[in-house]
Amino acid sequence: MLRNVYTKAIWDHRRSTIWWAVGSAAIITWVSFVYPILRDSDEMQGFVEELPSGMLALFGIDPATYLTGAGFLQVQFFSLFGPLMMIALGISLAVGATAKEERDGTMDMLLSVPISRVSIITQKVLMTVTLVAVIGITIASTMLILSTAINLGLSIEGVVAVNVSLALLGLVFGGVTLVVGAFSGKPSAAIGAGILVAAISWIVNAFAGLFDWLEVPSKLSPFTWYLDGSPLINGWTTGQAWLVIAVFVLAAASTLLFSRRNIAVDRAVVPSVSGRRSTARSPRLRAPKLLRNVYGKSLWDRRRSIWGWAGGLVVLLLLTFAAWPTFEKDSAAISAMISAMPKELFAMFGMTDPDSLATPAGFISSRTYQSVGPIVMMVFAIGAVSGLVAKEESKGQLDMVLSNPVSRRLVLLEKAGAIAVLTLVIGLSLTVFGLAGNAIWDTNLNLVNLLAANAGLVLLGLCFGGIAIAVWSVFGSGAAIGVTAAIGAAAWFLNGLGAIVDGLAPLRAVSPFYWYLGDTAPLGKGFEPQYLLLLLVAMVGTAFATWRFESTDLAV
């Protein structure tokens, strides 16, 4: 396997690929098993045909096909979960192609052997394509097996077409990451660019039906190319051609950029320090005030990225507010349809209390506080613990910090405090803009409920932060992200499954998502006692980690 760059790269990803395959197969299986519930509901049939246009745009539902297995999966998996997963995969593989190797300095080593840069990046691109394809094939085969097993009635052509589309979508945003990584050599910039372009593309596509001015930009969104024509139902689409072209253009651009620039330019090209000292030293810069303690330093570390997280959620929230007037026109028809649909279907996707969907509180909750919001908050908290605690330990930076006369307890508590404050910044941003949105678009939200929904979101983030830090203290730095993400996914599924499967209903009570979402839309309720559970888990997790950290070896 270590014969060339391509096989080495595949080899490096052997474990993670298996986990991705298992995870994606599990999700598609889980979603597929819900379809029979819908199919067997007689009431649905009549209403679906009368669906209003606003609803169609918002959920991407095609009334003619929604009740077929293909139509159902197209909406429930291939509209949100599938793309989310594949884009994450594409971006994470693409950043490993060049940017990470450059940062780690291994690219210098690689370039010291007689292989051209074009060859290196081409092999890395092929690695990305191969592994994305492996996951695509895994999903496709799982679907074909399920189609026979539980009678989903999927066509082979549709299954193949939709997975090709899905893989291409992952590769497009991976391509963006690849280009920025090849050009800048900075992993953070590369990942950021991939996520940003993907988020904009998704928002443009998702809100296109509700805002006229998004009509033209939406045609340029890869999400539109991906979703238009519903490949699972109709097979091959023209959008796929655009996706293929985009992937090729991005791959070619990254190859071109990479072969022409200075590798790790900062270290290699800048003249030696003594030569330019007189000019460089003249401005006696002062260190930022925040660098006073571990807490301040942790905030300072995230001083830029926090606005990306908060900004992303605020944009989503404001767009949701702005979409309400359009949606409201069809609200009567929507309520009628919703009351006919099995509630479990909504609960499975975090949308508890679907009846309220036709009210501003329910509608805005559904888009920000019930699906994307909690997931983003969880990802943020896990990421913060991973970056500020786990990574610092594995990189040996904690050694350096602890060579100072500071207690371990203090270091950890200050870091946890910083994460709490950062989470609060996101919550406060949402509250401020939520109040503004409420005033501008006349949604008449209850202000206490608005506060409560944001407080709940913050507490959910803290809860997962507490779990992550406790997991880190037990399993170590390497496992902190993976294990916590698995716990998070399990909690999410448990909340959803608990709503459908009677036997699982009691288990639902242990899911933090249930504590937050409960049975009522977050904007439709005030402060709930369960919110205290979220806080409790956060505090217990942090206390436990602090206790363990006091008496364990620092791993490097």
């Binding site: 000292r277 030293r281 006073r292 050694d399 006369p405 500071v406």
Partner: protein, 301 residues
């Protein structure tokens, strides 16, 4: 007087893999103690136990009379540390990094920071990730010395420094010693330890196997005496002398190279009985002492 570092039976196992076994160490105030041994012998593990990054499996230790676990914070406030594998916050500038650490120590080191940076020609206002290995090491050195600690624990301190900067570093160590402060440094660069250390401890396969002054080690080691005589000389008389390890005769017996352990007195006195053209001696280097310790091991295994 209490030793600055004292350990008894200090042992660290990673699971079943040994890190350091039964370390009995005693470092006195005002000395420069060299901790030498090959890669993976247990030097860094010992240091990380001393600083309470690792908890000992067995044994105990004190630094400045304070318990290494219970009083770790107090110890760290009076100690400067330079890790062997420097990991700093790459996106910070050197000034930001050093100021942050000074703040964590709750001391103002602005003046010392500047003067050390000048001394080592370090640009404080560049990002750490833009530094070369040597310049990164300088940041580490400044960090360890800037608060003028009583004890310096340095893990491979001159790695990556150019010869000029190594010289500057040695000057710094000498000043520290003159001020009566203590230095504990690990290294596998033996000429360097030879030049700056007063005493040396040798670690082999996770155990401290010998501690002595540098001079004493050298005295125990081989030195070579090359004598050129005007006429051929019988080398067997030299071979029979006290302390002679081996002899080698060249130029038809008129040049003798004699390897001696310890004093060369007997050899010189014997040589004086003949007509000597020239005589040269080469002292053993610590390197040879070191290698001899490992040669024993190689023979045994």
């Amino acid at each position: 007087m209490t030793p600055v570092i004292e350990t008894s039976g200090l042992t660290k196992f990673y699971g079943t893999t040994p890190g350091i076994i039964d370390l009995d160490l005693c470092v006195e105030e005002g000395e420069v103690f060299g901790f030498i041994g090959p890669n993976g012998a247990g030097k860094s593990t010992s240091i990380r136990v001393l600083l309470n990054f690792l908890f000992p499996t067995e044994g105990s230790g004190t630094i400045l009379g304070l318990d290494i676990i219970k009083d770790s914070i107090e110890i760290r406030s009076r100690t400067g540390y330079l890790p062997g594998d420097l990991s700093m916050y790459d996106t910070m500038t050197a000034r930001e990094f050093l100021t942050y650490f000074a703040n964590l120590r709750k001391v103002d080191t602005q003046r010392e920071m500047e003067s050390l940076a000048d001394r080592f020609e370090l640009d404080l206002d560049r990002k750490i990730k833009d530094f070369s290995t040597g310049n990164r090491q300088k940041v580490g050195v400044v960090n360890a010395f800037m608060h003028e600690p009583e004890l310096l624990i340095l893990d491979e301190p001159t790695a990556g420094l150019d010869p000029l900067m190594q010289q500057e570093f040695q000057n710094l160590i000498n000043e520290v010693r003159t001020e009566g402060r203590t230095v504990f440094l690990s290294s596998h660069i033996l000429p360097e330890v030879d030049r700056i250390a007063d005493r040396v401890g040798i670690v082999r396969e996770n155990r401290l196997i010998a501690v002595d002054s540098v001079e004493a080690f050298k005295a125990k080691a081989h030195s070579t005496v090359t004598i050129q005589f005007s006429t051929a000389v019988d080398d067997t008389t030299f071979a029979a002398l006290d302390g002679v390890h081996s002899t080698e005769s060249r130029n038809g017996g008129s040049t003798l190279t004699i390897t001696v352990i310890g004093s060369v007195d007997a050899v010189i006195k014997e040589a004086a009985k003949h007509d000597v053209v020239s005589i040269s001696t080469r002292d053993s280097e610590l390197e040879e002492v070191f290698l001899s310790y490992y040669a024993v091991d190689a023979d045994a295994s």
